[in-house]
Symmetry: C2
Subunit: 519 residues, 2 copies
């Protein structure tokens, strides 16, 4: 890396590069950012504490522990006003205290299993038979009523597992990046019916599962097994019935377990073949009601320009995670990158004109609650439903939440006016693979509510690595699935973007409110 | 598949194809074999019983149960003399009766763990601290003596996990197959020093582990954790200290567990960072001493030619497996294929001139014991160390033991004279992807001792699929990792090879004894 730095210094020749009328890049500072971010990174130490040391950061006590650690760390680095700020009531906290599932007949086999979030307990080791159910409508459900006592419920699944001839991990190639850069922003012809029908199917399935669980609990069933088509090779995709946290899940609810698809299908085949199967199960979960509030972590590097210091450049990532592992790529990665970005800026003694504010959100996994409530509470006038003064002062928001992959560019979220600015800002990072500005929207994370209220909120393009195959919401989302060099690069790029946004004369241009098409 | 059959029938026009002076292929029968093997296959039902229903087939009771089932199935299909035949004393049987491992501090996490074969027990749920050991020489080992009581031992490992940008599953492409076909059999310039140094390193490590376990047991340690570099994503590579079966392992030995590499490295990092870690462990294994013999399964389709029926064409696969899963690709696949091959031949009413004998070996995983002892006992005169009369009567031996991949050809094992014969035999299966004859040796399985005593023993080339990445000796070697179409193809090709070998005038040519270079 050091050689590349030298080369760039020589090529640039000067420390102020003018790309346009407004954006004179402070190359001296950018070089310091690169030096600190690439040569003296602490991003993996931060990630280690957020993952290995802290454990899962599920909304509730797991998150709170990490949030307090992050607050302390940010304050320790010298950021101002490091704080936890409540975004409102959430619901019960929850954690696993014991989890064990095995098949004991026709032979013994431990089953890879993780309780789904807000699952109930069996409270002790219990032997259980399986109730194998093929029905998926509630009429048929009633017919199982009398057979549920002490049973573990297994719904028929006909997944077909095939070996994968594609790699788990990937990086974007030049062609793919070029294609993203060339995308147009013409609105879709109509609503996304695929997504809509998928959501509908999911809702139907969830409604069935809810009814099933209610009936099963009444009738004294012990547990229920789940899996997904892609939960192969020991990698389990696990989330949870998060409506339950608010809807009053209790410890005496069914034990609700996600298991490996291979084990699931073995159980299905044995039941279909009439082979007697016995399970043993021991699940203990704990519900926390002492603090039902949700919190975000916030901290600042104060602005230094009297005219601009009330304006704020925000950077953020959600710090909460699902619980089957330690949420390394979703999203200790993004949280560590954002923390590292402000550490870099602080360490090199950056004096931003605008105030820089880091936000580590929570409740993201259950519906972007932290960022949504923060944006609504701080930036929107409830009377007019338009931006208030504080909202008008937001210069930009940058988000990272796509795993461990390095930054390859940025999504404009259809804010075309920002394109030339970001293209210029990316130029000093072309050697690190960050080159592409795409007009496209990207969704599913915390920039969305900034965008929705008319603030310029952006998410970076990251190499997908093994996000959808191995880590996103899985039991394998662990520290070892992080790529140190990629996180260092990401923190470096983000630090420069945030710094640039805090220094330029104008705020980042905004879309006209009507153009808010974030989904 | 049916269309292809028709096409071939039309192309061939005749039912007897003459490729050489000796080998008139009986295309009518080959067509029947294809029809039965591809259209009316039972290979997956067989595989289902050997895996899902039977469970692990580790040398001992797990194997015996499967062996008796296979014997009954072969007899039920109409094979003659279906029997279990002892190959001599083996040692204790062993199975897992309970297995649970979790981290309880700094937070709760179930750890994916499988006891290594012939591991001891903890017999109840025990809380335990970790003793983290960086030393790998026995001098340093002594210094840990007083600290072993109630500890679980974790040896320092510095594996670096990186995401894989290659697919888990692969098939051979034309170029690779051509390269194999063009291989020469010039002997290696010298001994394989890489292999030798790797074996040496493994022996040193094993010796250290043995000493460690002995010391740890004396001092009252509870268990020991292991992992491998490639035990990623929930796929654990697990075998066992099989010397122990003979060397008198006992239930009060250390619990000896293989765990996921991500969990292993998390524990290492936490210990290095001085974070207090607590585990809880509950392992119960059972040792079986009621029958310490090893057995092979054998059955025959009797020859019908008075002059040739004392000669025998053998086909075989090892039926035993490791225990972390159900040994689907290693080697229920090969066993099911071989059983299916004789089922096909029996079903179509084949009347082979020579006797066809199927062998399902055991003790393969611990050193090819079943096949080695069978060959030695049946085919070698102990006085002269040369083939006896029974050995002289072996026309050929065919083996399948490379996973679920379809057959792409055959290894000649440097028996060049067999090349033209097998090339002809493969021609009717070119449309199924089986085309390649390579002079190369392949090792590691049960054809080796046939080859070593001068008998023509062969193993087929199979597509590697995900054998080395996901299934071979792993906890993921399960039914769902089998590819039905590939197994059907393999059984069909094998049935034809066996039939051809049983029908041709001459036995398959043999190498001169001096040329036996099997490794």
């Amino acid at each position: 890396m050091h050689n590349k730095l030298l080369v760039i210094g020589l090529l640039l020749g000067t420390t102020l590069l003018s790309y346009g009328q407004d954006d004179k890049l402070d190359m001296t500072t950018i070089q310091k950012i690169r030096e600190e971010g690439l040569q003296h990174s602490q991003v993996m130490e931060t990630a280690f504490y957020l993952t290995d040391v802290n454990g899962p950061r599920l909304q509730g006590p797991g998150f709170i522990k990490a949030a307090n650690w992050a607050k302390g760390k940010l304050a320790g680095w010298g950021l101002q006003n490091a704080r936890l700020e409540s975004w409102g009531d959430w619901g019960q906290g929850w954690a696993v205290e014991h989890s064990y599932l095995a098949m004991t007949a026709p032979y013994y086999k431990t089953i890879i299993a993780v309780p789904r979030a807000w699952s109930g307990s069996t409270n002790k080791l219990q032997a259980a038979d399986i109730l194998y159910i093929s029905a998926s409508d509630t009429t048929a459900l009633e017919s199982y009523r009398s057979r549920l006592k002490n049973k573990i419920i297994l719904l028929d699944q006909s997944y077909k597992i095939t070996p994968t001839f594609r790699s788990d991990a990937n990086r974007y190639n030049d062609e793919q990046l070029q294609k993203m850069a060339n995308e147009s922003v013409t609105p879709q012809a109509g609503p996304d019916t695929t997504m809509r029908s998928r959501m509908l199917a999911m809702r139907t399935q969830n409604a069935f599962n809810q009814k099933m669980r209610k009936l099963a609990k009444q009738e004294g069933a012990l547990g229920m097994l789940n899996t997904t088509q892609n939960s192969v090779d020991g990698t389990l995709f696990v989330s949870g019935d998060y409506a339950n946290a608010a809807l009053g899940a209790t410890p005496d609810d069914l034990a609700d377990l996600s298991i490996a698809v291979e084990d699931y299908l073995t159980l299905c085949r044995l039941m279909k073949a009439g082979i007697p199967v016995k399970l043993e199960i021991d699940v203990k979960t704990k519900f926390y009601k002492d603090d039902i509030k949700g919190y975000n972590v916030l901290a600042e590097i104060p602005g230094t320009d009297p005219k601009l210091k009330d304006e704020v450049v925000m950077l953020g990532a959600h710090l909460d995670s699902w619980h089957a592992a330690t949420g390394a790529t979703d999203n200790a990665a993004g949280s560590s990158v954002m923390m590292e970005a402000v550490r870099i800026l602080n360490t090199i003694g950056a004096k931003p004109r605008r105030t820089i504010r880091i936000a580590l959100w929570s409740g993201e996994e259950q519906g972007l609650h932290g960022s949504k409530n923060y944006v609504t509470k701080h930036f929107v006038d409830p009377a007019t439903n338009k931006l208030n003064k504080e909202g008008e002062n937001v210069a930009a928001y940058f988000n990272v939440d796509n795993g461990t992959g390095k930054i390859r560019g940025i999504y404009l979220q259809e804010n075309l006016a920002a394109g030339p600015i970001f293209s210029q800002w990316l130029k000093p990072f072309a050697d690190l693979g960050a080159t592409t500005v795409t007009p496209k929207n990207t969704g599913g994370t915390d920039h969305l509510f900034f965008d929705r209220v008319g603030l310029p909120g952006f998410q970076f393009i990251q190499d997908p690595i093994e996000y959808s195959t191995r880590t996103h919401h899985t039991n394998m989302d662990t520290y070892d699935h992080l790529i140190p060099d990629d996180l260092k690069q990401a923190a470096t790029v983000v630090a420069a973007f945030v710094y640039n946004a805090a220094m330029r004369d104008q705020k980042i241009p905004r879309k006209a409110p009507a153009a808010n098409t974030a989904r």
